[in-house]
Symmetry: C2
Subunit: 614 residues, 2 copies
């Protein structure tokens, strides 16, 4: 698998960087999509502001970047970390906390009231292109005395939902006819009113710090992963998605894994989990970390078991502990640990329709069966937390008893483990460790709210990170979609990150196209949830794309979409001529039968959209 | 496009027919999937009952059917219709009501207390294979005195959710260890408690009659479409899906349209709308109707406009009326009529972000602009209803002002039309016509419930039939998925039928694979909603598939899925050897690392699943 350069480029886009205020040296990467002008039938021309989008691709997405896989990415965070003065190199070049009592974790800083560069970075990142959108709508408020005043009006209103153009008309001194298009462009539906939701109108570094201190959010950022571009996981931010990569006994090599990483983040994976179980686990991970601008997660139990030659009976706390330290020193940003699966839950799980389907869960369950002892991850939790705090590795508390079928959803075994996850969350927080909780799995849509409600309550509002959940079992081959249904439903209610599922789930190993389809599917599910949650920057992109569609700006419609290559390819299949990209109709109805075109005629007759200010 | 026979066969399946009780001559078609035995490690063998599935493919899905496209399908309903003695042939061979005061509509029969063969047919159809599932679990109740008694216990319990195996254990005289698997197989989660939901434990013909009389459901079944296998649309039944076909100026021929029909119903389209706008509209429709076992819907405005050479200004009530009669005489089962879009709503719609995106809506809006007159579909509503009642054509009241973007969702124009749809619903009901209401479109997830709530309230619980709705605008190329997100969310709340959207939506015309992907995607969304609504037969299929998955019965897992060909193909990609279909592991983790296998070992150690009765 060799990456074609073209496939990794977004058409009509350029990389832009936004500087910090607290930390002026910060350069937060975004992708900016430029747009064509709107051409009115009467000859008028109006420009369309560029749209700024969240960008996970790191330096790989910057045309000017000249690095390569062998040299790895620039060490963006190196100076941020060293300047804090609280870490020291161990004997072999890895950093660790100088003073165990003051762990170098984002949680610890947040609790001490420190706003880190990582926090400002994510604040800027979460705001997307909102300032940009404000500028475009500024002229909607001709009576505002100054640009800042107009911006403030918009800030206030975008936070709770921008008024519709028809409502704006009621405002004195405001000329509606001229503003319809631009006001529509900034319109944002009021958010759903969710208990505990506190989506701000604008993300500030202080807001980020506060959310992290409260445990409602985390920035997975190992001090040994300086290549990382910080991102935040929490329900009052954009919903994130994770893509899994990793070789297994039956699959792939190292170069292929790095290519998979680049491919996944190109399409928008916010974090990547390396679930390798085959040979060369350590070396594979090294390549991935040194080339990854996104947080890397692992399940250390897999490598531990490899060290035992796959024999569960040989597993032990020392083997696991050493593996955990090895991975933490290497730079892994978060680890899944199935510490909530207790011995007494196993008989309940074994009696289910589909038993235990989590790999990590079934390993530890079998270990407990063999040794007739309590889960050593649970009994050594304090030591685990101490190790992770030393490097700022975040914990993703695994759900070893997640349901593997609709039948098993929300059953005793699942919920019993969730309660223990809550208990472990508090202990980890006390050790200064950042935490999230993993969740199901397979859940019918009407049982999704119960999952979210209980997780928030029992786990003290720690971020939830679910696998799907899949809303039905009957669609193997389409499980990216069954998972997106449940994923959107739970993210809408506050789930902070969705682990993607590919269409090969339950059937085989995903290839390149499966990863692309899977990532894009979860991006759209996460975005649908962001709209529902009322993330203040979410609807800007929908509005811009809808306007482009309405005005038959085909290229802009493609370029603003999650997968411009596919959108364009599908258009080409019916209307391949390049002239069709300028056509004021599409293939669905043909030139004489176009609803959009008819509406434009009606609009023109009514003089709507014509500027009366000019 | 020539259909390969293999592509239209479901592996491991056979056609079965279930007879009626009120009408013993009824033969309700179902598909039965046979399953392999479960092989336990200790050498025991247990059989797995076959699973009966809803089947839309009609005679085309019966291996013994020897007909062809030229001769058309058998006229299943001919004798049912003639025996009622209330219709007569007109001069040219079409049937019509003999007495306008007693229209031959299912609504009229229902109101008069008559249970028609169509009603019994759909009752049997909706029960799916539940009797079959009961038999499989019968032995779970060894203390029940008789088979009917056991069946009654199950009936009672399945209606409100079957207890979990762990709860069954509490019952005296019940041996849990032997029953785990089979009890899991029948487990059904309690339904979500929705206002107005009245999902029964078992569908009876009387229940069907009552729902139709109340207007909560309809059986679209034109007396001139005797080839139809009746199906019901209503929120207390299985959620249905519609697929659109139809040629346009840029596309296809007649044979191709019939092939598209067969392809769509093979994958599970419950109704098909013929949206042809090109040449040969009448003849295309004739071929489709004579070969369709599912209801055919149209938008008569399209053909009316063709008759005017595409010139909206030439449209008139007489042209539309004649077209409506032509289509009703031919056998069209339901028609979309955009009568709710009133003149005063047009300025509101024109000021939207994306104006009017419904083709029918924009045609009538332009007509009103040109003629400065009220919508002639609204002003002639009584005459429209009288025509449709004469042939039992159902009305699908169009939503010409459905939002074409997230920005326009739930706005004044959309909701204003919805209120008029309610008014028109009552008038149509009074004329004996069966009614459903069309709905959006593009709606963010948090605004979906408002759509459903207002439609139920304002349209007196008439069935809702939505296009998607699409949960975001940013994913052209993936709009089958954005539509499935909104579709599952609204169907879960009671939307009765979802119009599919293909991945080519907004971009081009769907091909064969797009139709397959689109239909399967909407089937899974509808099924996810049926699980949430607590349809008593829904979870049986999930449970059977999950059990097959857990026991590594790969062939059964494929055969029970919505798209067995794809499921098998994806498995083949990683593990192509036929032996892998018997392997007790899969490609995700490899043979030494399988969660399912580990759980089975734990289960065996705990003696779970071993029969103690034998």
């Amino acid at each position: 698998m060799v990456m074609e350069h073209d496939e990794l480029k977004y058409p009509g886009s350029r990389r832009v960087y936004v500087n910090g205020l607290l930390y002026p040296e910060l350069r937060v990467a975004m992708r900016e999509v430029t747009q064509e002008d709107t051409l009115f039938p009467d000859g008028r021309v109006e420009s369309n502001a560029p749209v700024r989008l969240y960008d996970c691709s790191g330096p790989w997405g910057d045309d000017d970047f000249r690095g390569n896989v062998e040299t790895g990415l620039p060490r963006l965070r190196e100076s941020w970390i060293s300047r804090r003065g609280d870490v020291a190199a161990d004997g072999e070049g890895a950093l660790r906390a100088s003073d165990p009592a003051a762990p170098p974790t984002q949680r610890s800083y947040a609790l001490r009231g420190i706003i880190t560069p990582e926090m400002e970075y994510v604040a800027i990142r979460e705001n997307l292109g909102r300032e940009q959108a404000f500028k475009a709508v500024y002229d909607c408020f001709p009576n505002a005395k100054s640009r800042p005043e107009a911006a403030q009006i918009l800030l206030d209103e975008l936070g709770t939902g921008m008024p519709r153009p028809s409502e704006l008309e009621a405002q004195a001194g405001f000329s509606p006819a001229s503003m319809t298009d631009r006001a529509n462009l900034c319109y944002q539906h009021p958010a759903e009113n969710r208990p505990g939701g506190r989506m701000p109108a604008y993300f500030t570094p202080e807001f980020v710090r506060d959310e992290i201190a409260a445990g409602r959010a985390l920035i997975p950022a190992n001090i040994n992963h300086p290549e990382l571009e910080p991102m935040i996981i929490g329900r009052n931010f954009l919903c994130k998605i994770n893509a899994n990569i990793g070789n297994s006994a039956i699959s792939s090599g190292i170069e292929e894994e790095v290519e998979k990483l680049r491919w996944a983040i190109h399409w928008g994976a916010d974090t990547v989990m390396d679930l390798s179980t085959g040979a060369d686990i350590h070396r594979t991970r090294e390549w991935i970390l040194r080339n990854s601008p996104v947080p890397i997660g692992t399940v250390p139990m897999y490598q531990s078991l490899e060290k035992c030659g796959g024999r569960v009976e040989y597993l032990s706390w020392p083997i696991f502990r050493d593996t955990l330290i090895e991975q933490a020193r290497q730079g892994v940003d978060y680890v899944t640990i199935h510490a909530g699966l207790l011995q007494r839950f196993v008989p309940h799980a074994a009696r289910r329709a589909t038993g235990i389907v989590s790999r990590g869960g079934s390993i530890i369950a079998k270990w407990m069966m063999i040794h007739q002892q309590e889960n050593f991850l649970y009994t050594h939790w304090d030591e685990i937390c101490a190790i992770l705090a030393t490097y700022d590795v975040a914990i993703s508390i695994g759900d070893g008893l997640r349901p593997g079928s609709i039948a098993d959803a929300n059953d005793f075994a699942q919920l019993a483990e969730l309660e223990v996850q809550g208990e472990l969350t508090r202990l980890a927080w006390a050790a200064g460790v950042q935490v999230m909780n993993e969740g199901p799995g397979h859940v019918p849509l009407h049982l999704v709210p119960e999952n979210m409600r209980k997780q928030l309550e029992w786990c003290y509002e720690a971020p939830f990170y679910t696998l799907g959940p899949l809303a039905t079992d009957i669609a193997p081959g389409y499980d990216h979609i069954t998972g997106a249904l449940g994923g959107a439903a739970i993210a809408q209610r506050g789930c902070a990150m969705l682990c993607y599922v590919t269409r090969k789930e339950h059937l085989g190993l995903p290839d390149r196209e499966d990863v692309r389809e899977g990532v894009v599917t979860y991006k759209l599910a996460a975005h649908a949830a962001d709209l529902a949650k009322g993330h203040p920057g979410a609807q800007v992109r929908d509005n811009a794309l809808a306007k482009a569609r309405f005005e038959f700006r085909w290229e802009d419609q493609f370029n603003l979409s999650l997968d411009p290559h596919r959108a364009r390819a599908y258009h080409d299949m019916t209307l391949p001529h390049s002239g069709a990209k300028k056509a004021h109709f599409c293939s669905m109805c043909g030139p004489n039968f176009c609803a959009m075109k008819l509406t434009q005629e009606i609009r023109e007759q009514q003089n709507i959209g014509k500027s009366q200010l000019k």
